[in-house]
């Protein structure tokens, strides 16, 4: 079973490589050029059910659609980072997201970002204003650490005043304990 899965995996990666190589009018030959270990290549060809992945059809229109800047900004702004209750430390997932945000900001040096720190409704309003600020600052500090000029970053805390999900349950609270990122132009 395991080897079957591995075989499918190999096929998929080969197909993926083909796609990036971006030509492959003779896909089978291309596979050979990648020169995977023989004993693994052969079985691939036998895995018939996976064959319907029609690589050649994809190849016919090789243009890679580059999203417009507006779409990229939309995408950038759609990803928040999240925190634990009454905490502002950056979790591994948040650091990963911030690294992506840093790459985007490096690629677009003309853009500035506003980090909006938010809290869930638990805790008190006054304290949450301060907590939201610390959440925003934590993200800002990390972006600066990753090489973004602090002049390009501003922070604002909304405390618990702008919940994304107004419900009163952990699912909503975990969504609301977040830093939201807004591109504010140059």
């Amino acid at each position: 079973m395991k080897s079957y899965v591995r075989r499918i995996g190999t096929l998929v990666s080969i197909v993926g490589i083909l796609f990036f190589v971006g030509c492959a009018k003779k896909p089978v030959e291309q596979v050979k050029e990648v020169s995977p270990p023989k004993q693994e290549v052969a079985p691939v060809q036998e895995v018939k059910p996976v064959q319907p992945v029609e690589v050649p059809k994809v190849e016919k229109k090789p243009e890679v659609k580059v999203p417009s800047l507006a779409d990229q900004i939309k995408e950038f702004e759609s990803v928040d980072i999240h925190f634990d209750f009454d905490r502002f430390n950056l979790k591994p997932e948040a650091r990963k997201i911030l690294a992506e945000k840093a790459s985007f900001l490096k690629a677009h040096p003309g853009l500035k970002v506003r980090i909006e720190g938010n809290c869930d409704e638990r805790g008190t309003r006054e304290y949450n204003l301060a907590l939201g600020e610390r959440r925003a600052k934590a993200a800002m500090d990390y972006l600066v650490f990753l090489g973004i000029n602090p002049e390009r970053i501003s922070t604002i805390s909304y405390g618990e005043e702008r919940p994304l999900d107004p419900r009163h349950c952990e699912e909503a609270w975990s969504k609301n304990r977040r830093d939201h990122f807004v591109i504010i132009g140059e």
């Binding site: 805790g123 008190t124 006054e126 204003l129 301060a130 907590l131 600020e133 604002i156």
Partner: protein, 421 residues
């Protein structure tokens, strides 16, 4: 019948000099009962007299010292406008300590209300006065007479004509709002921004400091109650939040994050000079001064969780006051400096209003609504607390926790009440 206060062993004695005589009212001793008031329906045009009677009834409910005897038990059913000699025993019979009767009359666009209050045990008239009001000022008139009743009967300075400030949320914006302690006389302050927070009275009640996001950042402003003119007090990058006036009214302390983590600063309103009061890696916020200005309480998470700390203003001494619970915030000093009230995350998982002595002893947790109570503020006489519940309403409790009255109407979602000094 007598409602006993067994919840606390703390005895608070309020001594107030009235007309040269010192009256001691022991409001929280174990033996104290609320004073029973009989108040039959006022006579006069029924629409007017009912409205006025209801306003008086609400003030009795929030007073913390009075309790209305169920009108259904009265031997003299309303309307009643006077207490002829000989009928006093009928009120005594149902347990009334005081009888209040009134007669309303329309007068031009306004109206008058003649009120008589008699103490049944002595037959003394503690109040016998005609009140006059303009058409729209009925709450003010009733609160004024109830203040006179409170002072005339037991010598407590009235609190019914004082004002609360709070934040009213209509679903799309949060505005500054003021009202009387019973919730009447509501006034919305428009034009201060769409997101307004943290209202705090000046000691002379002429101004309110608040936070507004009007300029795209939480900045601190002061609005003059009468002229509605505003002044920008603090607008540094980052937080400018939780303002509170010093007892002399000439300074405002607040939270800034301009130098890194949130810390407490104070600004002179005369010279605009700003000084830093706390300097810590942790979050310091929500300052409030003791009435003599010598101490300041605030919230800090320097010990790992938000707790209440007390700072001596003349020294660098800072003492942690709260150790019970993992989340204690929003401390406020009582007007006499004998208590600090705050928001406490209790063992039941809900926030409750709690109180502690300035030396960190005697912590008590008030039952409140048990739905999540935050943001306490003391009445000017220190007997009562107003707070916001998670149900979106404001409530008044006395400091023993024995009185609990909802004062708002559900028209808005109310939060962050602040009772004038």
């Amino acid at each position: 019948m007598k409602q006993k206060f067994y919840m606390l062993t703390i005895v608070v004695i309020i001594a107030i000099i009235v007309g040269g005589a010192k009256i001691h009212v022991n409001i929280t001793s174990p033996g104290f009962s609320k004073l029973k008031v009989a108040m039959p329906m006022f006579s006069g045009p029924s629409d007017v007299s009912l409205r006025l009677w209801k306003l008086a009834k609400k003030d009795i409910e929030i007073s913390g010292v009075f309790e209305l005897i169920d009108p259904g038990t009265y031997l003299h059913q309303g309307p009643v406008s006077d207490i002829p000699t000989g009928t006093l025993k009928d009120w005594d019979l149902i347990g009334a300590d005081f009888v209040m009767v009134g007669k309303a009359d329309k007068k031009g666009n306004g109206l008058t209300l003649k009120v008589t209050v008699v103490e049944t045990s002595t037959a003394d008239k503690v109040l016998d006065k005609t009140y006059i009001c303009e058409s729209d000022n009925q709450p003010k008139m009733v609160h004024s007479l109830m203040d006179d009743f409170l002072e005339g009967s037991i010598g407590l300075k009235g609190i019914f004509s004082t004002k609360l400030a709070c934040i009213a949320d209509n679903g799309s914006s949060k505005q500054l709002y003021t009202c009387f302690p019973d919730g009447s006389g509501g006034c919305l302050f428009n034009g201060l921004g769409k997101l307004v927070l943290d209202p705090a009275w000046s000691p002379d009640a002429s101004k309110i400091a608040f936070v507004s996001y009007k300029r795209g950042n939480p900045d601190i402003y002061v609005v003059d109650i009468k002229t509605k003119s505003t002044r920008l007090v603090s607008s540094f990058p980052g937080l400018n939040t939780t303002p509170c006036f010093s007892p002399d009214g000439r300074h405002i302390a607040f939270t800034l994050s301009k130098d890194g983590t949130p810390d407490i600063y104070i600004k002179s309103l005369d010279t605009n000079k700003i000084s830093r009061l706390t300097n810590n890696w942790a979050t310091d916020t929500s300052p409030c001064f003791s009435p003599d200005g010598r101490e300041m309480v605030f919230c800090s998470n320097r010990g790992g969780s938000p707790q209440i700390y007390l700072k001596e203003m003349s020294t660098a001494n800072v003492t942690r006051l709260t150790f019970k619970g993992s989340y204690n915030t929003e401390p406020v000093f009582s007007p006499r400096g004998d208590w600090i009230a705050f928001s406490h995350l209790a063992a039941d998982g809900h926030f409750h209003i709690a109180m502690i002595r300035p030396d960190g002893t005697d912590m008590v947790v008030l039952k409140g609504t048990a739905k999540g109570d935050e943001s306490p503020s003391f009445s000017p006489d220190g007997r009562l607390l107003v707070f916001a519940s998670s149900d979106g309403n404001l409530y008044i409790t006395d400091i023993t926790g024995n009185t609990l009255v909802r004062i708002t109407d559900g028209k808005y979602i109310y939060s962050e009440p602040s009772w004038q000094d």
